[in-house]
């Protein structure tokens, strides 16, 4: 069995900015443990010295020519935002103290 605990899942949910109910916490712990158990076949392999593949095609770092060209319209993006304000994205307060 995977060593995944309810506390691990609660911590991961916090990191991922998700709130789980008690019932979800219980259910997800079991389901995620099942997937991680399946992955134990990988953990058991000795792959010392094998290079990792993060990407199937190695094109190196692709850069474009440093030329000025038109981009996408700022207003088109801002108008799709939940709360555009003065040409920016407005959000609730970020710091601890009241404004």
């Amino acid at each position: 069995m995977s060593e995944l605990t309810r506390d691990d899942v609660a911590k991961v949910a916090r990191l991922a900015r998700l709130h789980l109910t008690e019932e979800e916490l219980e259910r997800f712990t079991g389901q995620l443990a099942q997937v991680l158990d399946h992955a134990n076949d990988l953990r058991a392999l000795d792959l010392t010295g094998v290079a990792p593949t993060a990407h199937p095609v190695d094109l190196g770092t692709v850069v474009r020519a440093d030329e000025v060209r038109p981009g996408l319209a700022r207003d088109a993006f801002l108008s799709a935002a939940p709360q555009p304000e003065d040409g920016r994205f407005a959000v609730p307060r970020i710091l601890g103290e009241e404004p």
């Binding site: 991961v12 998700l18 389901q31 997937v35 991680l36 076949d41 792959l47 993006f77 799709a80």
Partner: protein, 475 residues
């Protein structure tokens, strides 16, 4: 009528694109309420676009190889001003301010995009049941799933609404629904089709491709959308391959390996279909042999660490700031949590958490790091197999279409639907599913041909041989 037949008639002026578009809109209206295939159709825009294609023909210009062909777009492909939800509440109402390169190229070839097709939320699923907009039903048997995640794109073609659709394939999401709906589906070589304007799920695995009734329609559509795009840094150099020109090339002299690991555990009818397809290929002059690539057995575990890891990073952008849903909170962190908790469904939450865990301190090497090494091992194993074979043959999915609800409460059993398709995504290679044979209930099955990177020309030629060998459609 096939896509190529429609295009031929529209180009010659024998049929108007508008009449084709009207037929499509009527077909959608007739069955969409029952099947839940399209989540959005821009009726006026479709008719205007079709009229523009007719105007080109009237002016003596050629609109292109897909002139007047109605196309369904999976709802993770952006088209300016057309709602794009990815099957998620978190993107409800979002209208992208730009168009995907693949869609731009369809338009440049004369096609008429008719709307957005339902999908598993953020393409995470194998049945189109995780969509926030309800499940799609299989047109061949509405008590069953169409497969997924491109289930809406498959059902749209299977129901006769459109002759061709675009889907995306991260672990089998084009090929598996194609198999379950009796269609041809192609997962192109990674980088052959630009991902610009495709909403990201797992960026090192995602690839756009076609679903169609015939190999020729799928090949023509892929040819139209493929080729280098400077807006995608992972786009392969060079133009699109000439796929239509290779359709009749046959398989004489080709070495094709039947892969034990790509049929093991499948239903007996699936095994019989693969064997019968092998006989068809042999009769056409190919040399068939049985091969074993044991490393492919590691694919499922590696995929369900790598794809969630990439997804957990890609889906961090849904934070209620720049687009989509925002749920109020007293400070910015509470707003993030409230938005993501309300906006994502359970399967997306599961995968985000799985990926976050696999990448977290203390587990990174054991899970994600190990999965990346397994990816190398699999790529090397494929390379050894392709030293002795031009193509590989196996099943696409282990079963025929399964019942709605059969696997939703057991994620692991759902994940196993992709066991034969996942290795090709991990390797970045190409594969095609072709309808062949039928399951115990008489529903269609698919066989899968796999090839190395950029082998699409020989893949469509071999697929055309299998297609011709299945006798009457649905046999």
């Amino acid at each position: 009528m096939s896509a190529l037949e429609i295009a031929t008639r529209v180009r010659s002026g024998e049929r108007s694109a508008v009449s084709v578009a009207e037929e499509t809109l009527t077909a959608i209206a007739a069955r969409n309420a029952d099947l839940n295939v399209f989540v959005h159709v821009e009726r006026e825009q479709v008719l205007e676009r079709a009229a523009a294609v007719d105007a080109e023909v009237a002016a003596g210009r050629d609109p292109g190889i897909l002139a007047g062909v109605p196309v369904g777009l999976k709802d993770n492909l952006c088209q300016t001003g057309v709602p794009t939800t990815c099957g998620s509440r978190i993107l409800a109402g979002w209208r992208p301010p730009y168009t995907a390169t693949a869609v731009e190229r369809l338009l440049a070839a004369g096609a008429v995009p008719v709307g957005k097709t339902n999908m598993d939320e953020f393409a995470m699923g194998s049945s189109t049941e995780t969509s926030a907009y309800g499940p799609t039903r299989n047109p061949l048997d509405p008590t069953r799933v169409p497969g997924g995640s491109s289930g809406g794109s498959a059902a749209a073609v299977a129901a006769g609404m459109v002759p061709v659709s675009l889907g995306s394939d991260t672990g089998g999401s084009i090929r598996q629904p194609a198999a379950l709906c009796g269609l041809v589906g192609i997962k192109p070589t990674y980088g052959l089709v630009s991902r610009y304007g495709l909403v990201a799920f797992a960026s090192s695995l995602d690839q756009i491709g076609p679903l169609a009734h015939t190999v020729a329609d799928a090949a023509a559509t892929l040819e139209a959308i493929a080729g280098h795009d400077p807006r995608d840094s992972t786009s392969l150099p060079g133009p699109a391959p000439a796929l239509v020109a290779h359709l009749d090339e046959g398989v004489a002299g080709r070495r094709i390996g039947i892969v034990r690991e790509l049929v093991d555990g499948a239903d007996p009818e699936v095994l019989a279909a693969v064997e019968a397809a092998a006989e068809v290929l042999a009769a056409a002059g190919a040399t068939l042999s049985e091969v074993s690539i044991p490393e492919l057995r590691l694919g499922l575990s590696a995929y369900y660490l790598i794809a969630p890891a990439e997804a957990s990073s890609n889906l961090a952008r849904y934070d209620g700031v720049r687009f989509g849903l925002r749920v109020a909170g007293s400070d910015v962190t509470e707003m993030y949590v409230a938005t993501r908790t309300a906006g994502f469904g359970p399967e997306v939450k599961r995968r985000i958490m799985l990926g976050t865990y696999a990448l977290s301190a203390g587990y990174y090497d054991a899970y994600y790091g190990q999965a990346l090494k397994v990816r190398t091992v699999m790529i090397e194993a494929f390379a050894r197999a392709y030293a002795n074979a031009d193509l590989l043959l196996g099943a696409t999915a282990p079963t025929e279409a399964f019942a709605l609800g059969a696997k939703v409460s057991d994620p692991m059993s759902m994940y196993l639907s992709d066991v034969f398709t996942i290795p090709t995504n991990l390797s970045g290679h190409a594969a095609i599913s072709v309808p062949f044979g039928s399951g115990a209930s008489g529903l269609p099955l698919g066989v899968q041909l796999l090839g190395p990177a950029r082998s699409e020309e020989r893949l469509v030629a071999a697929a055309a041989v299998v297609e011709a060998g299945r006798g009457v459609p649905g046999a």
